[in-house]
Amino acid sequence: MKLSRRQILKAAAASSAMMAIGGPFGIMNEAVAANEPDEWVKSVCRFCGTGCGVMVGIKDGKCVTVKGDPNNHNAGFLCLKGALMPPIVYSKDRVTRPYIRQNGKLVPASWEDAMNLVEKKFKEALAEGGPNAIGYYGSGQALTEETYLASKIFKAGLGSNNVEGNPRLCMASAVGGYVTTFGKDEPCGSYSDIDAATCMMIIGSNMSECHPVLFKRVAARKQADPNVKIIVIDPRKTNTARIADEHVSFKPGTDLAILNSMAWVIINEEFDNQRFHSKYVTFMTNEKEKVDFAAYMKFLEDYTPDKVEKMSGVPAAQIKKIAMMFAEASATTSFWCMGLNQRIRGVWANNLVSNLHLLTGHIGKTGATPFSLTGQPNACGGVRDTGGLCHLLPAGRLIKKEAHRNAVEKQWGIPLGTINPKPGLHTIALWNAFSEAKVKAMFVLCTNPAHSLPNVNIYTEGMKRTDNFMVLSEPFMDAETVKYCDVLLPPAFWCEKRGTYGCSERRYSLLMKATEPLGECKSDFEILMDFAQRMGVDPKIVPYKDVDDVWNEWRQVSAPTPYNFSGITRERMEKESGILWPCPTEDHPGTKIRYVRGEDPNIPDDYPKKYNFYGKPDGRAVIWFRPYKGAAEEPNEEFPIVLTTGRVIDHWHTGTMTMKVPELRRSFPVAYVEVNIDDAKAKGIQNGDDVLLETKRDKMVFKARVSDVCRPGLVFVPWYDANLMINKLTLNAIDKGSKQPEFKICAVRISKA
């Protein structure tokens, strides 16, 4: 018998196919077929500030899968967290009905009883202590419409500026940095700058694990052109450093000196762009005195590479090298995140990165921009832009400025003088006041402060008091803050509601409602509207039928400001996958580059200069003289090691979502301490050993992961684990300007347990 190769293969395939029926491949394919979605609904990923577009796969009214949105900036790509979201929606830990705490235990309650109690407690607090005795603590994960509404209810309806949110813990220093340098918040470039940059400096950011899809774009750029230079400045040699041409490891906290030293090198090698900075830059001392370029050169003499080598441990030659890489490239983009922001010198560190761009003119060109990465999906659009913080009003306006208050009062149709002229309490002050029962009633929405606040023991002790009251809208029963709330409300989660997310690049994208809320869950919009009505807020202040009404008002409120996104209509958002503001008209494509004539619609076409930093009265951005000063708690004899905290790629924030995904939970079920090999040897610590970490505030035992990721003298602990909350050990010292706490540096002692 003669058979061709093809016939043999066919015979084998046929027998394989027979066996596959009922076999694992058969089962898998059936499972795949069974889960083939009936419909794909456009949305945005629930996790980080990258804000990737996703398509939610719906079958029989349930979310069964997700895939990347090919039309959003991520071009269809997702990271491992984004790709595994569906199990979170149907977790057994979802809160699906209201609860009231009775005799120390949460017991099921009706919506009516729960909201009656909320109303009673807030009215009692107002009667007893006035508007300062109530507060709202929101989230960079809430929808834009929810934060806008909450801020308006409290500031315009209840007279309280105690409106804060977890973005104070993650990006307040970036706001402070942008506002002091450019006069306006938010980045001036976009993600698309990655595709054109010839040098990228990543400082204080483990982009690979915290913004994986952006890191993918950076890596793809490096792959497409190996001449593209990548500089990673981080005391940990993270996965981000895998693609680095130069990884700069430094003594934690001395990055301010390194950035000043880079400026010194750039000037002394004559790579500064005189034509740019003489025309568009003001040089300003730390005491806000306008000076000249010569004064800047004099200031930088304290930061010669040789001097900074002694401070930072970075070889002078490496400082020179990275400074030249930064300056010589045709287009340099910088990225930074919590490593700079979560510091008591966070605003200064932000200024110093922008200084390098202003000095070299690496700004306002495709591929050249100073870009702050944000940790949460809607910290930028939802909280920064809507003014969801205690000192802000919508579109970057400030409570302390009468003209700004009056402008907003007019737009909101409320009498002039309604908004309290005194800013409210910032996050740490607010929780201090709550812990002392000075703030007596707190509305917490979509965040987990009992896990995420620094030096958290003092705040959880405060939450245990019985003479203050906390209502919490939280989707997951196992969130740490649930242990302390007095009323627990069940919110609709992610794909169960409609609204807007605004990611790090000023991109507003619509999350469309894809499924019905579980159980008795309601959207936070509905919850807040109910709260407003019960509290007697004038219906004219909250005249909304649905979130689209809120969006349309917010769109109009932005119109007379440089944020102007009145062209981002709901109809456009449904069709398009995200649009970057400013976007003044419905036919405007959105803005990738700000402050540049011909790019930024806020600058008239006949403006005489190319650049206009219109946030400053003279149109000039500021190069600040920010000195290097140490951390709030430097290592000492008793606590000789630096403790820093952060994320792993598998988990996000307090783990309440990622711990619901079996694969992610299993990948990193328990937090650990990362110890340098030399430090481990000195202490007799082996991989997997129990290690005791002690700070002035608390102590805790972690399993050791011994590696060369941390530099000697530094240990790292991820903060997601509710059973091993490293925030019991961290420090609540804050930046004077931004009021952001210094999570990234505190002193610790380690020993084998």
Binding site: M1, K2, L3, S4, R5, I8, A11, A12, S15, M18, M19, A20, G23, P24, I27, M28, N29, A31, V32, N35, T65, V66, K67, G68, P70, G76, F77, L78, C79, L80, A83, L84, P86, E209, P212, F215, K216, A219, K222, Q223, P226, N239, R242, I243, A244, I649, V661, P662, E663, R666, S667, F668, P669, V670, N687, G688, K703, A704, R705, S707
Partner: protein
């Protein structure tokens, strides 16, 4: 002998078919009940930490690939060995269920260009798609 044709007896063909059945049965059984897999400990939980020792070639290929550089970890495509994950465990994942989550636009482009004759894996060696960079030389496994 014509290189394209082979002389094979009926007995050989039956034998080959039975062999295929046997192999598939073993694979089916082992996968249906879960491939023998060590229970991950709390301190060494991610796949690479063990697989760089037990399956070094595959682990190293992954590490040096784009997926490795970008930390698209094993479980994203393969699921969880105990079968209790959010996607089915599979040695060879179904492209429609898995690859499409990120590569749907490319898959559609390929389909339009070449039709549906070949699977993704035939042209794209997913573990060996190098980033063309020497960064992987700094990897932990290279130091072992």
């Amino acid at each position: 002998m014509n290189r394209k044709n082979l002389k094979i007896s009926r007995a050989q063909l039956v034998g080959f078919a039975l062999f295929s059945v046997l192999i598939l049965s073993v694979v089916s059984l082992s996968q249906a009940k879960g491939i023998k897999h060590l229970k991950a400990t709390d301190s060494a939980a991610d796949c690479y930490e063990c697989h760089k020792y037990v399956t070094p070639r595959v682990a190293q290929n992954w590490l040096e690939s784009k997926h490795g550089v970008q930390l698209m970890k094993c479980f994203v495509c393969h699921g969880q060995p105990d079968g209790k994950g959010s996607i089915p465990f599979s040695v060879k994942p179904d492209p429609v269920a898995v690859c499409a989550k990120c590569h749907d636009p490319a898959m559609q482009r390929m389909n339009e260009k070449f039709g549906n004759e070949k699977g993704c894996y035939e042209c794209h060696p997913f573990h060996q798609n190098s980033l063309h960079h020497d960064a992987y030389k700094k990897s932990a496994s290279k130091k072992q």
